[in-house]
């Protein structure tokens, strides 16, 4: 562990990725994530890695495809409009079963939207995003420190399942500086990442083996169906093994607030204040958005009087919360569509049953 450092989320992500063995980065400039590729451009050459600014997000994600297929530990980052452009490539990565890490520092939409924080890419991130029946493993950190802590895991999970892993942040997490401890100090030497050839399926040259092919085309229906059942089996395994969440004071809570990422920090403050005022509130924070913690939330909701979903969107995770809670108790919603961040007071008012109809 390093000494605590004051680091911007975007820069901490970049350094943590490098410490997790990432040596290849392909990207395209877009606010509010530019500090991430800029950090990579400075630092990757120092550790024998490659930074390349692509001609577009479309090209960047396809460079990721090539590099991942060649056995490299690779990532890209972008923000909402850029991630939209990458969706075709992400579908191919999932179809060809290639491991990589994608970072989305979400900004408001639709269209060009704005450059400030939002959580309105939840559907795109968790329900596939591009064409075809596939999922990304989606992790949603709530602080710069947690972002750093999740990165090593993100790369390892990508390799374990041979599937893209998305880190879903937002402009607050990207732009904010917080105290953070990295696995290693910046001047500590890094162990060399495993060679591309250690991935036996990668296209590293057909030496003493039959040739490897990276491909997502299965023109015969029988083979395509078999391939799809195979990747679905991976998603079932993720759902069984990779669910991550945090539950704070939900056991005796009358109101369970459900929020993730930046919004969960705000909800946490509101929940603590509610407790001080004698209101029994708890916080349920999904960390893996896919797989979503349906079972754990169902249990928490089973003991509660009501569930309150808070998002910086007009209600996207809300759908998954409703699926989890069913008829066990009412599900209410408070959201703002991005750009403006909900305040703890606004959430507290909803916990207390004030503040009128949920926006």
């Amino acid at each position: 562990m390093s000494e605590p450092k004051l680091m911007k989320g975007n820069e901490a992500i970049a350094e943590a990725a490098i410490q997790a063995g990432c040596r290849y980065f392909f990207g395209y400039p877009i606010t509010p994530q530019n500090e991430l590729p800029e950090y990579m451009a400075r630092r990757l050459p120092e550790v024998g890695g490659v930074y390349l600014q692509a001609e577009s997000e479309v090209s960047a994600i396809n460079m990721v495809y090539g590099a991942a297929g060649a056995g490299g530990r690779v990532m890209t980052s972008s923000s909402s409009p850029g991630i939209s452009l990458m969706q075709e490539g992400i579908s191919y990565l999932a179809g060809a079963e290639l491991p990589c890490v994608l970072v989305n520092i979400v900004r408001g939409g639709p269209g060009l939207g704005g450059i400030h924080a939002a959580q309105s890419d939840y559907f795109q991130a968790t329900k596939g995003g591009g064409h075809g029946d596939y999922r990304l493993l989606v992790l949603a950190p709530g602080s710069v420190q947690e972002t750093v802590d999740l990165l090593q895991e993100a790369f390892d999970l990508a390799d374990k399942y041979r599937n893209p892993v998305m880190l879903l942040g937002d402009a607050v997490l990207g732009q904010m500086m917080e105290a953070v401890r990295l696995p290693r100090d910046l001047d500590e030497p890094l162990p060399p990442p495993p060679p591309p050839e250690s991935k036996v399926w990668a296209t590293t040259g057909a030496v003493n083996r039959s040739r490897n092919v990276i491909n997502s085309l299965y023109i015969e229906p029988e083979r395509l169906e078999k391939h799809n059942w195979h990747i679905q089996e991976k998603y079932r395994r993720m759902e069984a093994e990779e669910v991550r969440y945090e539950a704070v004071q939900v056991d005796d809570a009358g109101t369970v607030v459900v929020a993730y990422g930046t919004t969960a920090r705000i909800a946490r403050t509101a929940v603590d204040e509610a407790r001080r005022q004698g209101l029994k509130a708890g916080l349920f924070r999904p960390i893996s958005l896919y797989p979503f913690p349906y079972q754990a939330l169902r249990e928490a909701a089973g003991r509660a009087r009501r569930v309150l979903v808070v998002e910086m969107s007009c209600g996207q995770m809300l759908d998954d919360v409703r699926l989890a809670v069913g008829e066990r108790c009412p599900v209410e919603f408070y959201g703002r569509p991005g750009g403006n961040i909900p305040t703890p007071q606004e959430v507290l008012d909803r916990i207390a049953g004030k503040g009128g109809e949920a926006k």
Partner: protein, 249 residues
């Protein structure tokens, strides 16, 4: 005593190809395989197949292969080459893939002087999807989407990709060849070998545009298609070397 005078190149797979009778993709595949064999490089070559008639190229080359999405083969090849700089990396792309949907990718791979070899097969139409207009379709040429012939007023003008890319500083070698005759095949083979050799020497981006026939969609018998290529494609797409080992990494 027997002497082998001809055999399948080691880098070409022993499978039946899906190409139409009379299509020259098969010849071009063989030339690429021979170029890889000439460098004894089958085990350190990674190819990138594109989308179009040659979509199944990943089944036809006996080396490691990746299948790219439509137009993105140069980006995929870039990713591979940056991870494995000492391997040979090539793309095999048609005219719709390279000159239309993938125009940005090919221009920027060339501008970076990316040390890869691009095999660009130009048959002046979209073959796999049934013969629609391509960016390389000649003026007046009839396709399923230019039923009265390509009209520059509505359909624009064909693009000479080799000449256009040769204006960039990045490329080391750009040539246009054809495979309509034994002599042309020999010259095409030499150009493709040269491109792979330059890549092996780290000279930078190389691209060989190969004029090819499409008897099925042109509505011509194979021999007539070869004649049509000579009489129509070559006058607009002249053969030759447009860039010789100047730029590059």
């Amino acid at each position: 005593m027997t002497t082998v005078v001809a055999q399948r190149p080691k880098s070409l797979s022993d499978v039946v190809m899906n190409y139409c009778p009379g299509c020259t993709h098969g010849i071009i595949h063989r030339l690429v395989a021979e170029a890889i064999d000439a460098l004894d490089a089958r085990e350190r070559t990674i190819g990138v197949a594109s989308v179009g008639c040659s979509v199944f190229a990943y089944n036809y080359f006996e080396c490691d292969m990746q299948q790219a999405s439509h137009g993105r083969a140069p980006a995929v090849a870039t990713g591979i080459k940056r991870v494995l700089p000492d391997r040979l990396v090539f793309t095999y792309q048609g005219d719709g893939d390279l000159a239309s949907i993938g125009a940005a990718e090919i221009v920027h791979a060339a501008a970076r002087g990316e040390n890869i070899t691009v095999i660009f097969v130009n048959n002046a139409n979209y073959g796999m999807t049934g013969g629609q207009m391509a960016p390389t379709t000649l003026l007046g040429q009839k396709t399923t989407t230019t039923p009265l012939g390509r009209d520059p007023k509505t359909d624009g003008f064909p693009i000479r990709m080799a000449e256009m890319l040769a204006t960039l500083q990045g490329p080391a070698y750009i040539a246009r060849v054809s495979v309509h005759s034994p002599q042309a095949v020999k010259q095409a083979g030499d150009a493709i070998k040269k491109a792979f050799r330059l890549q092996a020497e780290g000279k930078g981006f190389t691209l060989i545009e190969v004029l090819s026939t499409c008897p099925t969609n042109w509505g011509l018998a194979p021999n007539q298609a070869l004649k049509w290529l000579v009489e129509n494609l070559i006058p607009f797409y002249p053969l030759g070397e447009f860039k010789k080992e100047e730029g590059g990494a």
